[in-house]
């Protein structure tokens, strides 16, 4: 693999792009390790964190707490970073959090048109579609069309607020608590909350009751 599989020669001086990133990253890690610039065990620890610990279950717990505890919800709007910190979640890529609330009248949607800014601390690393050109280009100009593709048809009367994450402020959508969830406790509620609902491309639904219901 390498230059020969790339299809044309790179004799110009822009950033050279060999074809196989797996080989390139292996070579780079090996070089940086040899030079004492990175510790491979630190890489293992970082990967383990984001594969196993930091993910949308964090955000789901924040949402469920806000649904059952009005004073927590109030704190979430006043200082989201501190309120999220109360639940023990780390700050990285969530240092400056703002929570926006979906209601019967207002629907919030989060995007980063310029790159891939996303609240890692509560949602983990972003999915490919969030980082993709189609979502980034269209969420600001055609939010209703994008939401329809996600299966969410909003009424014309609903106000849509799109949050383009152009700075280090990270946005989390507080979805509407689903009707019929009054008897559920906080843990059961958290289990209903999806990543997509906290980005604003979905709503939270009650599970269908029983097979064939």
């Amino acid at each position: 693999m390498g230059a020969s599989s790339h299809g044309h020669d790179h004799d110009h001086d822009h950033q050279v792009v060999p074809s196989d990133p797996a080989l390139r990253v292996k070579a780079l890690e090996s070089l940086l390790t040899e030079k004492g610039l990175v510790d491979p065990k630190a890489l293992d620890a970082l990967i383990d964190k984001y594969e196993r610990q930091v993910g949308p279950r964090n955000g789901a717990r924040v949402v469920a707490r806000a649904w059952v505890d009005p004073s927590y919800k109030q704190r979430l709007f006043e200082d989201a970073t501190a309120a999220i910190g109360e639940l023990g979640y780390g700050a990285a890529q969530g240092e400056h959090m703002v929570v926006v609330e979906n209601t019967a009248q207002v629907h919030n949607l989060v995007v980063c048109t310029l790159c891939s800014c996303y609240p890692w601390s509560v949602l983990g690393l972003p999915p490919v579609w969030y980082k993709s050109a189609p979502y980034r280009s269209r969420a600001v100009i055609d939010p209703r069309g994008v939401l329809r593709e996600f299966g969410l048809q909003l009424a014309d009367e609903t106000e849509i607020r799109v949050w383009d994450s152009t700075a280090e402020i990270r946005y989390l959508v507080l979805p509407e608590r689903p009707a019929g969830s009054e008897s559920l406790d906080e843990t059961e509620l958290a289990a209903l909350v999806t990543r997509d609902s906290m980005v604003g491309v979905a709503t939270v639904a009650m599970p269908a009751r029983g097979a064939g219901a």
Binding site: V25, L28, L31, L32, K35, G36, L37, A45, T113, S137
Partner: protein, 219 residues
Amino acid sequence: MNGVHDMGGMHGLGPVQYERNEPVFHAPWEGRAFALNLAAAAWRKWSLDALRHQIELIPAADYLRMSYYEKWLTAVTERLVQSGLVTRAEVESGQPARGSSKATPPLTAAQVPAMLRSGALASRNVSVQPNFHAGQRVRARNINPVGHTRLPRYARGKLGIVDRDHGVYVFPDAIAHSADENPQHLYSVRFTARELWGDHASPRDSVYLDLWDDYLEPA
């Protein structure tokens, strides 16, 4: 820079491709590329905005073709070379130059939890006068810097209302290129969809952008 990365409002980039039960990383190398970026950044030789700008500098056709972590890998390699932590010859050979000294990594596995717990603040606790206040009408400046900026093209020249003042933050246009942070007030500014996109847009919809003082003028 007016690069292809600044794609808000573009047409023709296709439908959103959704993957059910998507894994965090699609292959082990993606995880290594992700983690290498964070571990190399611990040398504090470049800012997050410098890395973002390095990604923006990937030629447009490559930018659109490459996967996300391929872009990260390309950008971090370039930052490592430009910062002098490695040489281009070392990257190409995969071997340390003969006689080069061995460093001590600034980030160990034991330090990872603390690093992720504390994060890195972009706000600055310095007194800077705000030029605008919540409720004020503002216009996003019509600027076209060739360097890094976080003012997307689709908002330039448009009228908005300051929704809130987030406080004082480092200025990306500055820190992407130098150690000068030029801290200034950052605001959430609301633009109606009709102001941005014209009369066919929904009269109810709006887009909020986080914009620094230097991006705005009174309107």
